[in-house]
Every structure is written in structure tokens, then in C-alpha cells.
């Protein structure tokens, strides 16, 4: 089966600093992959390459079989950035309309998709018609998720999706991801919230110092470390570097 997202020997260097060192990874349809690493490990760089915002120094990345950044692949993808920035003077509904139009959704279909996306992240009603500048951090995160969903994607790339969400929001997100997977969708997300992530991902990849320290089905990873949480496994993988790298 063809991979939805694939990286082959991906290397990315900024000057003399090599952020990613030969990452090879394939994500099949219907999988949720959690991508974990310390701050500065290279997670965001991987995300940027996956969407074509940055180019690898060597190696290659493909999304739906197209080179990363190809509009044909992006038409089937949704993206939530780590710190969503949107035009503050637009309302939530206008932003979703903007995203839907860029996905070339037309007329009444567009309106229905906007309502459905807002409903899925529980951002419907009066809040949707308020300017974004009045939104709380959690509402912005929900709006970010809604704009990622509005184009009816088959693949979601989420950067820190649990960030800023309260317990109700995190539960909503986990339900949403499970539903998305049940519908055949594929998800690649990076997160520091390992306990939440462990509840939804099928596969865990741990990035440390630019290389994949682990990449295997979550159940297999947990079975190899009986009695340990994903967080404990992660800390064991990144070892003594964790404390110093976090600062």
C-alpha cells in the first residue's frame, strides 16, 4: 500500500547545524503517528518539510505520492500550526470561509462544510461570529483545528494539537482524531503531551538530536517496556540529555 506521507533519508541543515539527520519514515493510510521529541529536536522542521514550507538539504519527502508542497497533495491535507496566527480582524466564520474558498469549495457546500467543521470542534454559535481577536487561546486552537478540517482532508498534520486546550477540549480532540481515523483518515502530529497522545496514536516516533530514536507501533513499544507510560519510555529514550536540552 502506498504511503500517505513518506520521508526518505531526510536531512536538513541550517549552516553548520544539522537539524535532521537521515530521517526515513512512512505513514500508511488510516494511521495516527505521534511524533515526539524535546524542544529543538527537529519536529517543527519535519512538519515544515512535510508541507513544503522548507526544503530538505538532502533526501526527499512525498505526500500522497507528490513531492511535499505540491498543491495537489495540499488539497487533501489539513494543517494546524503550533501557534496559530490568523487575521485578528476577521471573525471565526470568515476565517473558515477563507480556508474553504482556498480549497475551492463552492456555494452551499462551503456553508455546510464550515458549519460541520465548527461543530466538530464545538465552536459553533455566537463565538463563530466574533472577531478572532476576542478568542481565548483554547478557542484559537479549536478554530485552527476547524480550518484544518474544513477542506475535508484525508490527512491531518497537527503541530502541538493539545496545546491550549482544557480537559474538555483535549477529550474532544481525542474523539475527533479517533473518528477521523475510523473514516480512513491519516494523522501525523507532534506533541509534548505524551499522556494524551498515548491515548490516540497507533505509532510513536521519537526524534532525538535529529535522528529517530524509536519508530514502531505504540502497542509494541509499550509491550517492550511493561509497566511504563509513554512519558517514561520517552524519557528513557532521550536519556540524560533531557534535562539539559529542556533548558
Amino acid at each position: 500500500m502506498e504511503a500517505i506521507l513518506a520521508f526518505r533519508n531526510l536531512t536538513k541543515a541550517y549552516g553548520s547545524r544539522t537539524v535532521l539527520k537521515g530521517i526515513t519514515l512512512e505513514l500508511a493510510a488510516g494511521q495516527i503517528l505521534g511524533y515526539f521529541g524535546l524542544n529543538g529536536a527537529g519536529k517543527s522542521t519535519t512538519n515544515r518539510i512535510a508541507l513544503g514550507f522548507a526544503r530538505p538539504t538532502s533526501g526527499e519527502g512525498t505526500l500522497f505520492g507528490y513531492p511535499t508542497g505540491d498543491p495537489r497533495a495540499l488539497a487533501r491535507a489539513g494543517y494546524l500550526p503550533e501557534n496559530p496566527f490568523y487575521y485578528e480582524y476577521l471573525t471565526g466564520r470568515e476565517l473558515l470561509d477563507y480556508a474553504a474558498r482556498l480549497h475551492r469549495l463552492r456555494g452551499c457546500i462551503r456553508g455546510a462544510k464550515i458549519d460541520a467543521a465548527a461543530d466538530r470542534v464545538r465552536l459553533a454559535g455566537e463565538a463563530l461570529d466574533r472577531p478572532i481577536r476576542t478568542y481565548s487561546r483554547g478557542m484559537r486552537q479549536r478554530l485552527g483545528l476547524a480550518q484544518a478540517l474544513v477542506g475535508d482532508p484525508a490527512f491531518l498534520l497537527l503541530d502541538e494539537p493539545f496545546s491550549g486546550l482544557d480537559p474538555v477540549g483535549r477529550a474532544m480532540l481525542k474523539d475527533l482524531l479517533r473518528e477521523f481515523r475510523a473514516g480512513g483518515g491519516t494523522v501525523f502530529f507532534s506533541s509534548h503531551q505524551l499522556l494524551d497522545a498515548a491515548e490516540v496514536c497507533d505509532r510513536a516516533a521519537i526524534l532525538h538530536r535529529g535522528v529517530l530514536a524509536a519508530d514502531e507501533p505504540l502497542a509494541q513499544l509499550m509491550a517492550r517496556h511493561p509497566g511504563k507510560t509513554l512519558e517514561q519510555i520517552f524519557l528513557a529514550q532521550v536519556g540524560q540529555d533531557a534535562a539539559s536540552d529542556r533548558d
Binding site: 515544515r48 508541507l51 513544503g52 514550507f53 522548507a54 526544503r55 508542497g69 498543491p71 495537489r72 495540499l74 488539497a75 491535507a77 489539513g78 494543517y79 500550526p81 501557534n83 496566527f85 490568523y86 487575521y87 480582524y89 476577521l90 470568515e94 477563507y98 480556508a99 474558498r101 482556498l102 480549497h103 475551492r104 480550518q147 477542506g151
Partner: protein, 254 residues
């Protein structure tokens, strides 16, 4: 093209909800109205005076608007990472450039048209008849700013904000001094100066062509053939600048 229009539409929506452009517009409308009041008390030359001040106010306002908007549109998206919203959607980089440029032209038109209507109305009021020649004058102002805006957008992509801002002012001056540069530096100058002048004349559009809008002050119209030639000249430079913007944006990491 639809995606470019969508980007332009939402960029304009954001711009109109910010007060800065409205304040600039009201200030210029006040200048035009003041010129109208002053010319009312003059005899003989009142229409010429009103047209002269109005065309100058329109050009100056348009220049400031193009300068601020064109140096801001793309760098704002890059600095705030708002460009990630656009680049994660199925649009190529040229569509983003084109959308932002159309927003700039839309912003210029939306601000210049009401001002022009004010001038047109005042002149009609004082002269007792409409002066249609003003429309061709206003068209030339808009055309000049459309060319200038495209060049400034390119500067804003390759330079830092502050440097782009001052370079854009310098560009406006150089673009209006083509004749002076040609007569001063092309003959009898050292080779490096001749080379620099030749390069500047080739790369920078000659905006002094658009100064012919001032013929409307004297009651003449801009000949249609001349307008058509200027339109072709403007389109050539706009297309070149936007293609260069596309190349720069494609080579940039977002």
C-alpha cells in the same frame, strides 16, 4: 485566479477593518476640501488651482498608501507566520503573490476613487460643468502606483522591512529622475557610473511618463493612444516584478 481573488478579498477585508487607511483617506479628503474652499475665494484661476492641488494630494496620498501597504503585505504574513495558513492550502506561491498584489491595487483603487469623486464634484460645482479629463489623470495616478507597488513588493521580499521602506522611497525618487540620470551620467562619466546609470534605467520603470497626468490641470486630456502605451508599459513592469516576486518567494523557506 479564483484563489488569488480570494486572497485579495480577505486581505482587503482585513485592511478595511484597520483604521489606519481610513484616517489617511480622511486626511487627504480634508486637504482636497480645503483646496476647494481656498479656490472658491480666488478669481480666474480657481479651477486650475483646485485641479493642481487635488492632483498633487491624490498623488502624494497614493504614494504613501502604496509605500506603506506594499512594504507591509507580504512581510507581515512572513513575520507572523500567517503565510503558513496560505501555504498549507492548495495554492502555489505565485497565487499568493498575485492575491496580495491584487489586494494592493484594490486598496489603492478603493481609496483613490472616493477622493477622485470628491475632486470631480468640486470642480463640477465651481466650473458648472464636468471636467472629464480628470478621470484620465486619476487613471494615470492609479497606473503609476500599480507599477510602483509591484516594485516595492519585490523590494519587501528581498530586504528587511526598514531597509525596504527607505529603498522604496529612494526607488520612487530614482523612477522620477530617469531623464536627469540619463543626461547626467550616461555621457562623459566614468565607466562604472555609466554602467550603474544604465542598469538603473533598465531595471527601474520611468515613472516620469505618468507625470503627464498634470496636463489635465491645464484643461487638456491625456491622448488615448498615449494612455494605451502607458498601460502596456505598466503591465510589462508589473508582470516582471510579480514573476520576480514569485521566484523569490519560491526560493524562500517559510
Amino acid at each position: 485566479m479564483n484563489s488569488a481573488l480570494t486572497i485579495a478579498h480577505f486581505t482587503l477585508k482585513k485592511a478595511f477593518r484597520e483604521k489606519v487607511y481610513l484616517i489617511l483617506l480622511l486626511a487627504t479628503a480634508a486637504v482636497v476640501a480645503a483646496a476647494g474652499s481656498v479656490s472658491f475665494y480666488q478669481t480666474g484661476v480657481q479651477i486650475k488651482f483646485l485641479k493642481d492641488v487635488s492632483m498633487f494630494a491624490l498623488s502624494s496620498f497614493g504614494f504613501l498608501l502604496a509605500l506603506f501597504a506594499a512594504t507591509e503585505l507580504l512581510p507581515y504574513e512572513m513575520d507572523t507566520r500567517g503565510v503558513h495558513f496560505l501555504a498549507s492550502k492548495p495554492v502555489d506561491r505565485f497565487t499568493i503573490v498575485l492575491g496580495k498584489y491584487l489586494a494592493l491595487v484594490g486598496l489603492l483603487a478603493a481609496n483613490l476613487v472616493p477622493l477622485m469623486a470628491e475632486v470631480f464634484g468640486l470642480v463640477w460645482l465651481y466650473a458648472g460643468k464636468p471636467h472629464w479629463d480628470l478621470i484620465s489623470g486619476a487613471g494615470l495616478v492609479l497606473l503609476e502606483l500599480a507599477v510602483y507597488g509591484a516594485m516595492v513588493m519585490l523590494l519587501s521580499l528581498v530586504l528587511t522591512r526598514l531597509v525596504a521602506f527607505f529603498s522604496a522611497i529612494f526607488l520612487y525618487a530614482v523612477a522620477h529622475l530617469s531623464n536627469w540620470i540619463a543626461t547626467t551620467f550616461l555621457a562623459g562619466s566614468p565607466a562604472w557610473l555609466r554602467f550603474g546609470a544604465t542598469a538603473a534605467l533598465a531595471l527601474v520603470p520611468d515613472l516620469s511618463h505618468f507625470d503627464s497626468r498634470y496636463v489635465v490641470v491645464h484643461g487638456y486630456s491625456v491622448p488615448p493612444m498615449f494612455l494605451a502605451a502607458l498601460l502596456a508599459y505598466a503591465l510589462l513592469y508589473v508582470a516582471a516584478a510579480l514573476l520576480a516576486c514569485r521566484w523569490v518567494l519560491e526560493s524562500k523557506e517559510l
